[in-house]
């Protein structure tokens, strides 16, 4: 098995400017080293604001690290699937899907032939020819997932898309991912659900406060995550309102 992605001591700093003289710096990722093999399904667990999304953007090659290196085994096609992003809301679902496919290097003819497949998998029905802004959050997520899956990219990066949508679609999407495992497609996916990670992934990691704290077998990582969450809950102080 060959290495698909290799991150070495990656740091990402953000500088957010508030006005002319004020700037606020935040380190979103600190010394992340990670190696993901071709064909792996890698899960990333972490709370909101832990740096997960930034990590995925680095892996997708969208942002360059401030420090450290990112290397790919070869020139892979990559797609990052994020809730509510990746679409032009004024265009129809079909036009958006078509555009995504062509952007991923498919010809127009190929893309046109794939459209019915996407419409069917996404279960959007007659809405396929309506503007995406009229879609519910679940429909958007389904369309995004169906398009990304059909465009057959080498590295598919999924950011919490599977947490929306109903149970039935989630099962279908999980099956689709599970079927990819045998192939050469590499899937990296972020979730808040340790069960999902344990079930689907071949390896997993927890990211907390911009650092990777655990990495290893998905069952162990999922267990550790649950433990961390419950201990965090115990440590929370409950402040009772004063009654006068």
């Amino acid at each position: 098995m060959s290495t698909a992605i290799e991150l070495k001591e990656v740091c990402v700093d953000y500088k957010i400017r508030n006005g002319v003289f004020n700037a606020f710096t935040h380190q979103a990722l600190t010394n992340i080293s990670l190696s993901i093999q071709e064909g792996e399904t890698f899960g990333i667990l972490g709370r909101n604001g832990s740096g997960k999304s930034t990590l995925l953007q680095v892996i997708a090659g969208l942002i360059k690290p401030s420090k450290g290196t990112v290397d790919y085994g070869r020139d892979y096609s990559k797609a990052l699937l994020t809730l509510g992003l990746g679409f032009r809301p004024d265009l129809t679902g079909a036009d958006n899907a078509m555009l995504s496919l062509v952007l991923q290097g498919k010809s127009r003819k190929e893309s046109r032939e794939l459209l019915p497949l996407i419409a069917e998998f996404a279960e959007v029905g007659a809405f396929f020819n309506q503007a995406v802004k009229t879609y519910s959050a679940g429909m958007r997520a389904r369309l995004g997932f169906a398009t990304a899956l059909t465009s057959n990219v080498d590295i598919l990066i999924i950011d919490e898309v599977l947490s929306v949508g109903d149970l039935q679609f989630r099962k279908k999407a999980e099956n689709a991912i599970a079927n990819q495992i045998s192939g050469t497609k590499t899937v990296i996916f972020v979730s808040q659900s340790p069960h999902q990670v344990a079930e689907l992934c071949t390896r997993a990691a927890i990211i907390d406060s911009s650092k990777i704290i655990v990495e290893g077998r998905p069952e162990t990582v999922a267990e550790q995550y649950l433990e961390n969450m419950s201990s965090a809950r115990v440590n929370q102080k409950i402040v009772k309102p004063k009654v006068s």
Binding site: I16, K78, G86
Partner: protein
């Protein structure tokens, strides 16, 4: 990304946007022609009726100014926001960011060809006999497009880096409308120095004047100046493409954190 794939994407997305835009309007694609006609009518009413400034063939004169100006200003204004507008795509896949201004420009270009046909129709209607010189419209329109591309690429880049510049772009368009002889004739300026300055240093004024030279048959084309603007626009376009590559990470950062 190959050149052909890039063209295919620009064409595909421009068509999809046009389709979506027109589907929202009751008069749909008719607006491509209605809008310039309404603009020209407003100017005609103000200058010809109220101010009594209209010359012979004033409608054709106005159209030669307003149509290229509208194309120029709308293209640049829309392209300058194009990078920030495509946050969704920038956040999900690696694509050259120069595509975004080109997509918006292509949208405007598709609308424009009908309008140019209308312009020629009106010119013929006003008894301007088509001559071989009218073929010069082709290089003039191409040069007009090159100029639009050159300014749009730089405007989109700068607006993405410093969003405050959006106001500067809008103001410049208004300023250019007054300084390019859209509704008045630069050749009628008493001061020859200013006449020269405007026609020589303002490429839009020069282009608008060239449309009039060809369609209303006033004066002669300055071929040397045409060549100069072509070279300048090409240099600006090529250098902009290098800047987009050089500043790619910074642009991504600005767009994602918008």
């Amino acid at each position: 990304m190959g050149f052909l794939q890039a063209i295919s994407i620009v064409d595909l997305q421009a068509r999809a946007s046009l389709k979506s835009e027109s589907s929202k309007l009751a008069l749909s694609y008719l607006w491509w022609i209605l809008e310039p006609i309404l603009f020209v009518s407003v100017y005609y009413i103000v200058f010809s009726f109220l101010l009594n400034r209209g010359t012979e063939n004033y409608i054709l004169f106005l159209m030669c100014g307003k149509i290229p100006y509208l194309w120029f200003s709308k293209s640049i204004t829309s392209a300058s926001n194009s990078l920030l507008q495509n946050k969704g795509l920038v956040a999900s896949i690696q694509i050259p960011k120069t595509l975004f201004p080109y997509i918006n420009l292509q949208e405007a270009l598709y609308k424009q060809w009908v309008v140019f046909l209308l312009l020629i129709g009106v010119a013929v209607y006003f008894d301007e006999v088509p001559t071989w010189e009218w073929l010069w419209l082709i290089p003039i329109v191409i040069l007009n497009y090159l100029l639009i591309v050159a300014i749009s690429l730089w405007a989109a880049l700068l607006v993405t880096l410093v969003q405050d510049l959006r106001f500067v772009v809008n103001m410049s368009m208004l300023f250019l409308m007054f300084m390019s002889g859209v509704f008045w004739d630069i050749r009628e300026l008493q001061d020859e120095y200013w006449q020269h300055v405007l026609l020589y240093y303002n490429p839009l004024a020069f282009l608008i004047d060239s449309y009039r030279v060809i369609l209303i048959d006033q004066g002669t084309l300055d071929y040397q100046h045409l060549l100069l603007i072509t070279v300048l626009s090409t240099v600006l376009i090529v250098s902009a493409h290098f800047m987009y590559i050089y500043l790619n990470s910074l642009l991504t950062d600005k767009i994602l954190r918008n």
